[in-house]
């Protein structure tokens, strides 16, 4: 659905390409996680795939149309929830009134449902300006999901949310997801989105270190207490003894610990890469 074809991009010619000949295919029915430390290039990639930045070479396509053209049919099928955004000084009702017409699949019922998940359903007359930062984020995300665009991209969505709100966010994603939508969540707070992803892409210093489905991860990496003879990809000392990420044995399936996977990839990119590129 959203195809990134051989994109190269740099901010500064002196430091070389931020992304070089980078390709990625994002398909419907999947929730993609874009993980990386702050400054790894996640936002840049997001801007490139939403038509906000022009690549040096290559292109990002939505249904074959170059997103940089910023055509209305493209932009009305992509919704970006940026890390920082501003809401106008209007009531929620006015905001919906003015903006919903641009999204043909916008649903008022969905908006209400998502506001309810965030426990903000009550007052449509509330002035957006009077809301706290966290509340503004919730309202904006509720609108984003209610727009029912086929592509929904969120940049650091859980930043600034308290723990109950992070749970509400997960509920929002799992409720709002359908087979014809594609969602991408970019974050460095890996723990917040455990178990809601279908696919994970880990980048560091704008190189893609891992690009795999969660199912693939589960079949190739085991996350468990370490035993003798293990050659761990990452070790975490716990009160129960050393835990780690190790290459999975035949048929071994453990719960995917996203945080451990993230750390393992950053620490041991070569080993991870080998594990995932050798076919079984």
């Amino acid at each position: 659905m959203l195809t990134i074809n051989n994109i190269s991009f740099s901010y500064n010619k002196r430091f070389g390409d931020l992304f070089h000949d980078f390709s990625l295919e994002l398909n419907a029915g999947n929730v993609y996680g874009l993980l990386g430390k702050n400054g790894a290039g996640k936002s840049t990639l997001i801007y490139l795939m939403t038509g906000l930045l022009t690549p040096k070479s290559g292109e990002a396509l939505l249904d074959g149309v170059n997103v940089r053209k910023r055509l209305p049919k493209t932009m009305s099928d992509i919704f970006l929830v940026p890390e920082e955004f501003e809401l106008p000084r209007l009531s929620l009702r006015q905001y919906v009134d003015l903006n919903a017409p641009f999204y043909p699949n916008f649903s008022k019922e969905d908006m209400q449902r998502y506001l309810d998940i965030f426990e903000m359903g009550g007052d449509m007359n509330v002035n957006l300006n009077a809301l706290s930062m966290g509340q503004k984020k919730k309202v904006f995300m509720a609108f984003a999901f209610a727009a029912n665009t086929r592509v929904l991209i969120m940049d650091e969505p859980t930043n600034g949310l308290d723990i109950p709100s992070k749970s509400q966010f997960r509920k929002l994603v799992t409720t709002g997801m359908t087979d014809d939508k594609m969602m991408l969540i970019s974050t460095h707070q890996v723990r917040d989105i455990s178990d809601i992803l279908d696919h994970v892409t880990i980048i560091d210093q704008s190189r893609v270190l891992l690009n795999a489905s969660i199912a693939d991860v589960m079949s190739k990496v085991a996350f468990r207490p370490l035993r003798e003879g293990d050659e761990p990809l990452f070790v975490l000392q716990s009160p129960y003894g050393p835990l780690g990420a190790v290459p999975a044995e035949e048929g071994e399936e453990t719960k995917v610990d996203l945080e451990m996977l993230f750390n393992a990839t950053l620490q041991n990119p070569a080993a991870i890469n080998q594990l995932f590129t050798t076919s079984k």
Partner: protein, 279 residues
């Protein structure tokens, strides 16, 4: 949505315009009231001062003093307003907002550039008319016993107002056009500046204009020394055209087309993060 025109759609355009107006109704109202207030005060003072000591002739249509003052104010305020046309592009969040909204780039340009600037100019003339009517009412209320000119028509603009020369060939329907061309070219430059440098746009554009004029002036001086005859170029122009006016007019038209066109081009190529100084 695939069957709808991707370059311009009337419904989408009006939805975009409506969003812009509703979101910004406060600054819009504030500006219009401010302009109205300013013009009213100037006209009342003008009437009070002039009506007190000078004869009717001064206020007659021949000198068109009120129109000149109003037009003069517009030539200052117009570019200022134009320099704020794309102020949304100042912040990253504003840029993200602008580029992700599902209208076509043309519609965005029309709403933020064309409607905003031209809308202001039209509103300005209407407000001038209202201010003048307010002047008349105010003068009567204050019991002013001097000369109170009757309502002045600010929409009847001739090149006399613009250039102050009494040239007959620029009367009639074409006259208003010249006024507009002048306004379009001057606002166009500041509109371009608004796209190129959203931050401190007015200042930077003004500075750029000063620099350009300085450069032209220096080139003119160099040309004079090189050609040895200061007036030869000017003379040649005068001989080969029916006067200074068509030359300046052509210049103004070219300036307007280039400014508005370049502003469109740069807006289309603008990104959320600027990598080049003009982008």
């Amino acid at each position: 949505m695939n069957t709808v025109n991707q370059i311009f759609d009337w419904n989408r355009f009006t939805a975009t315009l409506r969003k812009e107006v509703v979101e910004n109704w406060r600054p819009i109202l504030f500006t219009l009231l401010g302009v109205y207030g300013l013009l009213t005060i100037i006209m009342i003072i003008g009437n009070a001062v002039a009506g007190d000591s000078i004869q009717e002739e001064v206020m007659s249509l021949q000198t068109m003093l009120p129109q000149k003052v109003v037009y003069g104010i517009l030539t200052i305020i117009g570019p200022i307003i134009a320099s704020m046309a794309f102020s949304k592009l100042t912040s990253k969040t504003g840029r993200i907002n602008m580029f992700t909204s599902p209208s076509s780039t043309l519609e965005k340009y029309l709403v933020n550039g064309v409607v905003y600037v031209l809308g202001f100019i039209v509103s300005f003339f209407i407000l001038a008319q209202l201010a003048d009517l307010t002047r008349i009412a105010a003068m009567h209320i204050f019991g002013f016993d001097g000369y109170i000119p009757s309502a002045i028509n600010f929409t009847d603009l001739g090149s006399k107002v613009v250039m102050g020369v009494g040239s007959d060939i620029f009367e009639g329907p074409m006259a208003v056009t010249y006024t507009w061309i002048g306004l379009l070219s001057s606002t166009g430059i500041y509109l371009l500046g608004s796209v190129m440098w959203p931050r401190l746009s007015l200042l930077k554009t003004f500075a750029a204009m000063m620099v350009i004029q300085l450069v032209i002036g220096i080139l003119g001086i160099i040309l004079t020394f090189v050609s040895g005859d200061a007036l030869s170029a000017a003379k040649w122009l005068m001989d080969h055209s029916s006067g200074v006016m068509p030359f300046l007019l052509t210049l103004a038209i070219a300036q307007a087309i280039i400014s508005w066109g370049l502003a469109w081009y740069l807006f289309k190529h603008k990104d959320v993060i600027s990598l080049k100084w003009w982008k």
